[in-house]
């Protein structure tokens, strides 16, 4: 009897564990040769929950070389930290407005090349997933390392990186200002998606075509606070395709300018109506004498 109860007690946490959200790390090959490219995919499995934020990091073994990170088809709409190598580790943080509840969704993937033979392990660490409940409740999350065997045989040709000939999606930067940011000065907020390789970075240019592009990120403090200069923001994907967006500016004088034009047009229309009315209906009074 005691043994049954013990088994039951052991089963309960296992059942709870199996219902936890999962960050799944999978590779398209479990065994590769030196020089061979393979991909590792990171996916979110909410397991019945609604997840709206996640973060983590992957330490890359020395025997693997990172060729490319792809986040084009990611379920993460807004990256706080786009997946990239920072301090020798691949770190990522992002949010999914409204939460993600489907069975499985891609987060990002890594294209890797094996450099030396042996067994290597990939694992996600410092992992956090938060529930879409308005409070940012942290959930227990499970993940497992993935093992790859690298054989001594070398390959001369490996699979090529996926082709991406499409530009990132069109977007419209927003001009805004807020006392809490840049001392209330005008700034730009922008974000777009690239459904193939993913957005690599953004560049901005203030002024004419002779001005240089500056690599930046959102929010961007506008240099010319008079907002007289043309501003163009461009998104560059990981394959080098570019999507440009011209910023629609509303300088301080625009309200007065548009107001003045509206006033003049109104006066003209009024004058025209009076003119027509007088032409059609006005008759001079005949003199009584």
């Amino acid at each position: 009897m005691k043994y049954y109860l013990l088994i039951l007690l052991l089963l309960i946490p296992a059942a709870v564990w199996s219902a936890s959200p999962q960050i799944l790390l999978t590779t398209d090959q479990s065994e590769v040769s030196i020089g061979q490219m393979f991909s590792a995919k990171i996916s979110l499995l909410p397991n019945g929950d609604s997840i709206n934020a996640l973060t983590g990091e992957i330490t890359l073994p020395e025997s693997l070389e990172l060729k490319q990170i792809e986040d084009g088809g990611s379920i993460v709409s807004f990256w706080i930290e786009r997946p990239a190598v920072r301090d020798g580790k691949i770190t990522f943080s992002g949010i999914i407005p409204g939460g993600f509840t489907a069975d499985r969704g891609p987060v990002f993937s890594l294209n890797l090349v094996a450099k030396s033979a042996g067994k290597v392990s990939l694992v996600i660490q410092k992992l956090k997933v938060l529930r879409n409940d308005g409070q940012g409740t942290e959930l227990a999350v499970k993940t497992s390392p993935v093992l790859i065997t690298v054989n001594k045989t070398e390959v001369e040709f490996s699979k090529a990186l996926p082709a991406d000939n499409l530009k990132p999606e069109s977007f419209q930067p927003i001009v805004s200002r807020d006392p809490a940011l840049f001392d209330g000065q005008w700034f730009l907020a922008f974000m777009t998606q690239d459904k193939q390789s993913g957005v690599d970075h953004y560049e901005v240019r203030e002024g004419g075509d002779d001005q240089t592009w500056v690599k930046t990120e959102s929010p961007y403090l506008i240099r010319d606070q008079s907002l007289k200069n043309k501003i163009v923001v461009r998104a560059v994907d990981r394959a080098g395709n570019i999507q440009e967006a011209v910023v629609i500016l509303r300088p301080w004088y625009s309200v007065w300018l548009y107001g003045g034009i509206l006033l003049l047009v109104s006066i003209f229309i009024l004058w025209f109506i009076v003119f027509i009315f007088r032409k059609l209906f006005w008759r001079p009074r005949s003199s009584p004498f």
């Binding site: 934020a53 990611s74 807004f78 949010i95 409204g98 509840t101 489907a102 879409n132 809490a180 940011l181």
Partner: protein, 426 residues
Amino acid sequence: MVVALATVSLARADEYTASSFRVIDPVLAPAGFSSSTSFQLFGSLGEPGLGTSTASGFGLQGAFLYFPIVSTPVVSATAGDGLVALSWTAVTASLGWTVGGYNVGQATVSGGPYSYTSLGNIISSTRSSLTNGTPYYFVIRVEDALGYTIATSTEVTATPVAAPSGAGPVPSGSGSSSNNQITGVNLSGHGYPLSKVTVLKDGQIITVTIAGPDAKFEVTQTGLSAGQYLFAVYGEDSTGRRSSLFTFPVLLTAGVVTNISGIFLAPTIAVDKSEVKYGDNLAIFGQATASSTVTIAVNSNQEIFTKTLSDRQGAYLYNFDTTLVERGDHTTKAKVALANEISPFGTAVNFHVGDKNILTEPNSKCPKKGDLNDDCRVNLVDFSIAAYWYHRTLTTAFIPREKSSLNGDGRIDLTDFSIMAYYWTG
């Protein structure tokens, strides 16, 4: 032993409560399923007296079959060459129901009759060997663990189109358009009568439309790329209250307009008092689809469920008797059912049962949290402001803003972004 314990656990009777009665320890009577050539009899584990009794002063909804929760799936259909790829949102079921699997119903006439194929517990299926140029109509039927139907989606249609010669096996054509150069999505569903419906693509607003008098809406968005998208829809009722975001992933195919039907926005909900004196009534109200059944859940030690009807404008009101719950903090939420469609539960609102009545503050159209620049929206600008302060020491000027709009811990971290994602308006 384990099985025995599980069985005992299932057989334990729970109390039923409503505003005017309580059923203590209802008797469980195992039942079964019978059929012959001319009839079918469905049984259940529940009280013998299944049905609704009414009198001038009360209504009795007996048995367990009234309050199990299940939502209907949102189905997307993408046409290809001689095929239609279907995918749907996973259904949530609880309080007695578990999802056992899905069936796809297929017909060449709108409304059926459908021929059903059992798929198991998966959320996508490709129907092949179809005739190009013929419209096909599909529904997804949800079965419980015993194989009984517990929900059916709305119908979705797609017309397979032959691939251009030499184009290879890539799917082409669309459910609603023969122009295979257009990549896009067609969304349809229920909001609130004559109310605003906002559609977001990957967190940014792409269109705002107005639902018809019957609360139905339909939106088409083209000019998209092939790939994975996360669409979200929310509604605003006649007083400006917003529904929760209804999100669903869609994989778009190049040159195809994907049809997505069955989007069903949860009702908006509000209460007239933030604190209600124990024994007094609490008015729970909001807007839903017109002339539909609204199920209201009140969270307490024993979760309470009750039902009411919405009027032709979609408005509903339920006076909740607070003697049914203990003193303390509670939440309430609502879902809506119309014909075979059932929405998920919407946002929960808080109230406190105590010693006095405190009226709720007038409805604010602004999100309660996440709005860092006070423009009554939570969008890219707020995200950018928060992203700037991520891993930075907050200034004394920004700390009060973080306290009022986020979690108030004096720093910007993932939790703050999660709060922002929950209250997101685009």
